[in-house]
C-alpha cells in the first residue's frame, strides 16, 4: 500500500522520526489491515456473502510522562501526519493531570517479517465451492431429527497484516490467515426450545474446513440441541462441581486469566495484585498462557513488537507471573513476553490472554468423578465474565449432568456457576491427566475484541455455587 508518495514501511519510519523530533520519549506507528470474507447459511440457504477491507494507522507516543494515541483510516500521508500531531497533542493535554505515569522497559530492536504458511490458500477455493461445503455441513444438522427447527452455519476467513515500528528500532510485520466456522442449531418440541453450538477456528488456511468431521461438528450441535429438550433445569445451591475441558478453559480464562493481566494488576483492578510468590490455588493448579501453541490465540509477535513466549502464571498453586506489556513489565518489574495486542489500528495495544490453560494432573476422568456423592458436571462453554477488582466470576455452560455416587445421571440445561476466584482455586480437589484446548473464540476487554483459545483437563472444584430454577 502506498500513502501519498511513500511506501508503508517508509511512512511508519518517517512518523516515528517525526514523533521523536517533536518531543516524544517513545513513539510507535502501527499499520493494520484485515481482509475478511463471510458466508451465512440458514436452513439450507446460503442467504448472504460479504467481504470487507479494514486498514489504517495508529500512532502511540509518550510525551511528558503521559500516553497519547491517535488513529485514522484515511489513507493519505497528510492524514497520518495529522494523527501523529493528535497523539502528541493528546499526551501534552493531559500531562499536567494527576494520574498514571507512562513508563516502559527498554527493548532491543527486532526486525523480522513473519508469514504464517497455509496448506490451502482460501483464495484458491472458489466462492461456489465454499458455499457448497457450508451447505453440506449445515444439511447434516438440519436432517438430524424432526425436532431440529433452525440451523445456521457461518464461515469467516480473515487475512490480517500488522506492521509495528517503534523508536527502539523494532520493525516487525506479521501476516496471519484465520478460518472460523460456527454451527448453531435450535431444536423445538411443543413450546420447549433449546440450542446447540459448535465452533472451529485457528490460524489456518482452508485446510481447516477440509478437516471438519461432520459427526463431531454440525451433527454434534444438532444432537446437543435435541437432547437438551429432555434435560431438566439444574438444582440451586453450593455443590461439588466437575468441569469438562471447555468449561475449565472458560473458568481459567475468566476467573483467573484476566486477573493476571499486568495492566489490571498495576491499575489496582486485580484481586491478585499483592499476591506474587504467594499461594493462590490448590497444589494441583498450574496455569499457562501460551501464544506459541498453534491454537486460535496463536501469534509470533505481539502488537508492541515483542516476541511471544509461553508464560507460566501459577505453578503448583503459587503465583509466579503476570502477563506483560512494555508498560506493565516496567511498573511491576517483569519481562515482556508478548501479551499486548490491539483489535485494530483504532485501538492501543492492551494486555490480552492468548491460549490459556490449566495444566494436566495425573487422574483419569473416572477417578475425578468417583468420590463425588452428589454434584454437578458441566460441559461446553457458552459465556463468562469477571469483575477482576472483586474477583467474582460467572461461567455459563452449555449443558450439565447431575453426579450421583460418581456416575453422571440426570441431564441438565442452562447451568451457570459463580464464585470468588481465590476461594474456588483453593478448592480444586482433582485434575485429570489430559488437556484439551479447543474453544476458539473472541475475548472482550476495554471495548476491544481479540482472538483467544483456552482449555483444561477435567477438574473437580468443591463448594461452587450453581444457579438454577429448581
Amino acid at each position: 500500500m502506498v500513502y501519498g508518495e511513500l511506501c508503508l514501511r517508509d511512512l511508519l519510519e518517517l512518523i516515528v522520526q517525526k514523533g521523536l523530533k517533536a518531543g516524544a520519549s517513545f513513539c510507535e506507528a502501527r499499520f493494520f489491515e484485515e481482509r475478511a470474507k463471510y458466508i451465512s447459511v440458514e436452513n439450507g440457504v446460503a442467504k448472504s456473502m460479504s467481504s470487507g477491507i479494514l486498514h489504517g494507522v495508529g500512532v502511540r507516543v509518550i510525551v511528558n510522562g503521559k500516553w497519547g494515541f491517535a488513529s485514522t483510516n484515511v489513507s493519505t500521508k497528510i492524514s497520518v501526519e495529522r494523527v501523529l500531531c493528535d497523539a502528541i497533542g493528546g499526551a501534552k493535554s493531559i500531562s499536567a493531570q494527576k494520574g498514571e505515569e507512562a513508563e516502559i522497559v527498554d527493548q532491543k530492536p527486532v526486525v523480522e517479517t513473519v508469514v504464517h504458511e497455509v496448506k490451502l490458500n482460501p483464495d484458491d477455493v472458489s466462492e461456489e465451492e465454499k458455499v457448497k461445503r457450508m451447505l453440506e455441513i449445515e444439511k447434516a444438522s438440519r436432517t438430524y431429527s424432526e425436532k431440529v427447527k433452525d440451523t445456521f452455519v457461518s464461515y469467516r476467513e480473515v487475512l490480517s497484516k500488522i506492521m509495528v515500528h517503534n523508536s527502539f528500532g523494532t520493525l516487525v510485520e506479521e501476516t496471519t490467515p484465520r478460518i472460523m466456522v460456527y454451527c448453531n442449531v435450535i431444536s423445538k418440541e411443543g413450546t420447549n426450545m433449546q440450542s446447540g453450538f459448535e465452533s472451529k477456528g485457528n490460524v489456518a488456511g482452508y485446510e481447516l474446513v477440509e478437516t471438519i468431521e461432520i459427526e463431531k461438528f454440525s451433527l454434534k450441535a444438532a444432537e446437543t440441541a435435541v437432547k437438551l429438550l429432555d434435560a431438566s433445569p439444574p438444582p440451586r445451591g453450593t455443590f461439588t462441581v466437575v468441569v469438562d475441558p471447555d468449561v475449565g478453559g472458560l473458568f481459567v480464562h475468566e476467573a483467573f486469566g484476566h486477573n493476571s493481566e499486568g495492566d489490571l494488576v498495576f491499575g489496582g483492578q486485580s484481586i491478585i495484585a499483592d499476591k506474587m510468590g504467594q499461594k493462590v490455588a490448590s497444589d494441583l493448579v498450574t496455569i499457562w498462557d501460551d501464544p506459541t501453541i498453534h491454537k486460535n490465540g496463536h501469534f509470533v509477535y505481539d502488537h508492541e513488537g515483542t516476541k511471544a513466549e509461553p508464560h507460566l502464571i501459577v505453578n503448583k498453586g503459587i503465583l509466579v507471573g503476570y502477563l506483560h506489556s512494555l508498560e506493565s513489565a516496567a511498573k511491576l518489574g517483569g519481562k515482556p513476553q508478548g501479551s499486548a495486542r490491539a483489535q485494530n489500528h483504532h485501538s492501543s495495544p492492551i494486555i490480552r490472554m492468548s491460549n490459556t490453560y490449566f495444566a494436566a494432573g495425573d487422574m483419569s476422568l473416572e477417578e475425578v468423578l468417583e468420590d463425588v456423592k452428589t454434584g454437578v458436571f458441566l460441559s461446553g462453554s457458552q459465556y463468562g465474565y469477571v469483575e477482576t477488582q472483586k474477583g467474582q466470576f460467572t461461567c455459563k455452560a452449555e449443558q450439565g449432568w447431575l453426579i450421583r455416587n460418581g456416575e453422571l445421571s440426570e441431564h441438565l440445561r442452562d447451568v451457570a456457576i459463580n464464585g470468588l476466584t481465590l476461594d474456588a482455586l483453593k478448592n480444586v480437589s482433582a485434575v485429570s491427566n489430559e488437556v484439551r484446548i479447543e474453544m476458539p473464540g473472541m475475548c472482550g476487554k476495554s471495548g476491544q475484541s481479540m482472538y483467544v483459545d483456552a482449555g483444561a483437563p477435567y477438574m473437580r472444584f468443591e463448594g461452587i455455587v450453581v444457579g438454577g430454577r429448581r
Binding site: V45, A46, K47, S48, M49, S50, S51, G52, L54, H55, K66, W67, G68, A70, S71, N73, V74, S75, S79, D86, A87, G89, G90, S93, I94, Q97, K98, G99, A102, E127, V131, K149, I186, M193, Q194, S195, P233, R236, G237, F266, G267, G268, Q269, H346, Y383, E387, Q389, K390, G391, Q392, T394, R413, D414, V415, A416, N418, L420, V465, G467, R469
Partner: protein, 450 residues
C-alpha cells in the same frame, strides 16, 4: 475534538449508487459514515491516556434474485468504491434466494428531530475533556481518598449518508458523550468497589462531579459483603438492574429472530405477560435523546411505539425484513451496524411507565429480600431460561438494607420475572434524555447461595 476535516461522503455514495443502478439488481443500498472521536482513559492512579480517532467507510448491500451480497471498504477512493461495488454484486450472484426477503423500504418524509448534535461536543478538545475527567476523579476523592480507578470519558461526532435503489436518501449527524468511573478501595482483604456512568448527546447533560461522588459512595457501601442462604425471596431491582430486565425482553421481541419463532417471546404477541400496571414505550423521536433520529437504519421514519401496554405485548420491533415476514408495517427499528453492511433490529429510547410506589416503600415493606443494585440478566434467548450473578446487591431484613451480598446467583425463566412484577416506583433514572427505568419489585426469585 478538533473539528472534523471536511470529507465529502455524499459523492462517493452517489457514485456507488450510480454504478449499482446499471447492474440489473433487485435492490441495493449504499451507506457511508465518517466520525471523529476522542477519549480520556483512566486506569490505576487516574488519567492514563488521551486518544483521538478518525474513521471513514462505505458499505454496499446488493440483492440479486433475493440473494444478498455485501461489501465494505475504509477507502472512498474511486477505484476502491468500484471494487467494493463489484464484490457486492458478484457475491449477490453466488448467494442463494432468501425466501423471506421482501425488498427495501421506499422514501418517506419525517419531521426533523431537533437537538441531536451538540456543537460543544463536536469541538471538545482533549485538554477540556481531561479537565472534566479530573473533576470526576476529584469528586471521588472528596468522598474518600485512596481509590484505584478504571473508566474515562468518550466523545464522538458522526455523519452518515444512506441511499437506496428504492429512492431513500437520508443524511444524519449526531454527537454523543459518555463518562464512567469505577473506584476500588481496599481495607486489608476487604474490597469496596462500584461504578457509575452516564451518556448523552450533549455535554451539559453530564454531571461529572455527581458521577464521581455517587461512584465513591456506592463503592464504600460494598465493604463487608457476605454470602446469603439459597432460597426464594422477593427482589427489588434498581434502575441499573431493571434496565437489563427490560432490555432483554425488548431484544427478544425485536426483528428476525422473534418473527422466525426463535426467541422465548415469539409466542407472546397480544398476550398478557406482566401485570396491568406495567407498560413500556419505545420512542426514537424524542428531541435531544441519545437514541433518537428522524429515520431508522433503512430510512423508515422512527416513531413512538407502545411495545408493552398494560402488561400485553402489543407489537414486535421491526425492520423492513421482519415486518415483511409478518406482513405488517415496519416500526422504524432497523439498526445499521455502521458501514459493515449488517442491518438488524432493536429498541431506541426505552421508557418504562412509572408506577406509584417508591424505592423506600419497597424496601420498608420487605421482611427478607434482595436489593439488586447492579446485575445483568443474561437469558438463553431461545429458551428464556437464565442463571445470572447479582454483581452488586444487598440483603434486606425487616424492611432495612443490611450488608452487601456476594457469590449469589438467581435463576429462572424470563417470563416468570415479568409475571412476578409486584411494584413499579414513581421515581427512577433518566439516561441520555431518552431512557427511563424505575425501581421494580418482583414478588419472588430463586436464589442460589450458601
Amino acid at each position: 475534538m478538533k473539528n472534523m476535516e471536511e470529507i465529502d461522503i455524499r459523492s462517493p455514495v452517489e457514485k456507488a449508487a450510480k454504478m449499482l443502478s446499471k447492474m440489473n439488481l433487485d435492490f441495493f443500498d449504499v451507506y457511508a459514515a465518517y466520525s471523529r472521536s476522542l477519549s480520556i482513559e483512566v486506569l490505576g492512579k487516574g488519567i492514563k491516556e488521551a486518544v483521538s480517532r478518525t474513521d471513514l467507510g462505505l458499505g454496499v448491500r446488493a440483492y440479486k434474485n433475493k440473494g444478498l451480497g455485501v461489501a465494505y471498504s475504509q477507502s472512498l477512493k474511486t477505484e476502491d468504491i468500484e471494487t467494493t461495488v463489484r464484490k457486492a454484486v458478484s457475491f449477490a450472484t453466488v448467494a442463494q434466494p432468501d425466501p423471506h426477503f421482501k425488498g427495501m423500504p421506499g422514501p418517506s418524509k419525517a419531521p426533523k428531530v431537533e437537538g441531536l448534535c451538540d456543537p460543544e461536543v463536536a469541538s471538545l478538545s482533549l485538554d477540556d475533556a481531561g479537565k472534566l475527567v479530573k473533576n470526576m476523579i476529584e469528586a471521588v476523592e472528596n468522598v474518600r481518598k485512596g481509590a484505584m480507578y478504571a473508566g474515562g470519558l468518550g466523545a464522538g461526532h458522526m455523519k452518515g449518508f444512506l441511499v437506496t435503489s428504492t429512492g431513500v436518501s437520508v443524511e444524519a449527524e449526531k454527537t454523543s458523550v459518555s463518562a464512567a468511573i469505577v473506584p476500588t478501595y481496599k481495607e486489608g482483604d476487604d474490597i469496596g468497589s462500584s461504578s457509575e456512568y452516564d451518556y448523552a448527546i450533549s455535554l451539559k447533560e453530564i454531571d461529572f462531579e455527581k458521577i464521581g461522588k455517587q461512584a465513591a459512595e456506592k463503592a464504600i457501601e460494598q465493604f463487608g459483603s457476605e454470602r446469603v442462604e439459597s432460597g426464594i425471596l422477593p427482589i427489588i431491582l434498581t434502575p441499573e438492574s431493571s434496565s437489563s430486565l427490560v432490555f432483554s425482553l425488548l431484544g427478544a421481541i425485536s426483528g428476525e429472530s422473534v418473527v422466525k419463532g426463535r426467541t422465548y417471546a415469539s409466542g407472546c404477541l397480544g398476550k398478557q405477560i406482566a401485570p396491568q400496571f406495567f407498560s413500556v414505550v419505545d420512542d426514537g423521536t424524542i428531541p435531544g435523546a441519545i437514541s433518537s433520529g428522524a429515520f431508522d437504519g433503512e430510512g423508515v421514519p422512527r416513531r413512538r411505539v407502545v411495545a408493552i401496554e398494560k402488561g400485553v405485548v402489543k407489537t414486535f420491533l421491526h425492520n423492513y425484513y421482519s415486518a415483511g415476514i409478518l406482513g405488517v408495517e415496519p416500526t422504524g427499528h432497523a439498526v445499521r451496524g455502521g458501514y459493515g453492511g449488517h442491518v438488524g433490529a432493536g429498541p431506541t429510547n426505552v421508557q418504562v411507565e412509572h408506577g406509584d410506589s417508591t424505592l423506600d416503600e419497597m424496601v420498608a415493606e420487605t421482611k427478607t429480600g434482595i436489593l439488586a443494585t447492579n446485575m445483568i440478566f443474561t437469558p438463553n434467548t431461545v429458551s428464556g431460561e437464565f442463571s445470572s450473578t447479582i454483581d452488586e446487591g444487598f440483603l434486606i431484613k425487616n424492611g432495612e438494607k443490611k450488608h452487601p451480598v456476594k457469590n449469589l446467583m438467581v435463576g429462572g425463566h424470563m417470563l416468570e420475572l415479568f409475571r412476578d412484577i409486584e411494584l413499579v416506583s414513581k421515581e427512577g433514572r433518566t439516561i441520555g434524555k431518552g431512557y427511563f427505568f424505575p425501581n421494580i419489585k418482583l414478588k419472588q426469585i430463586k436464589l442460589a447461595g450458601k
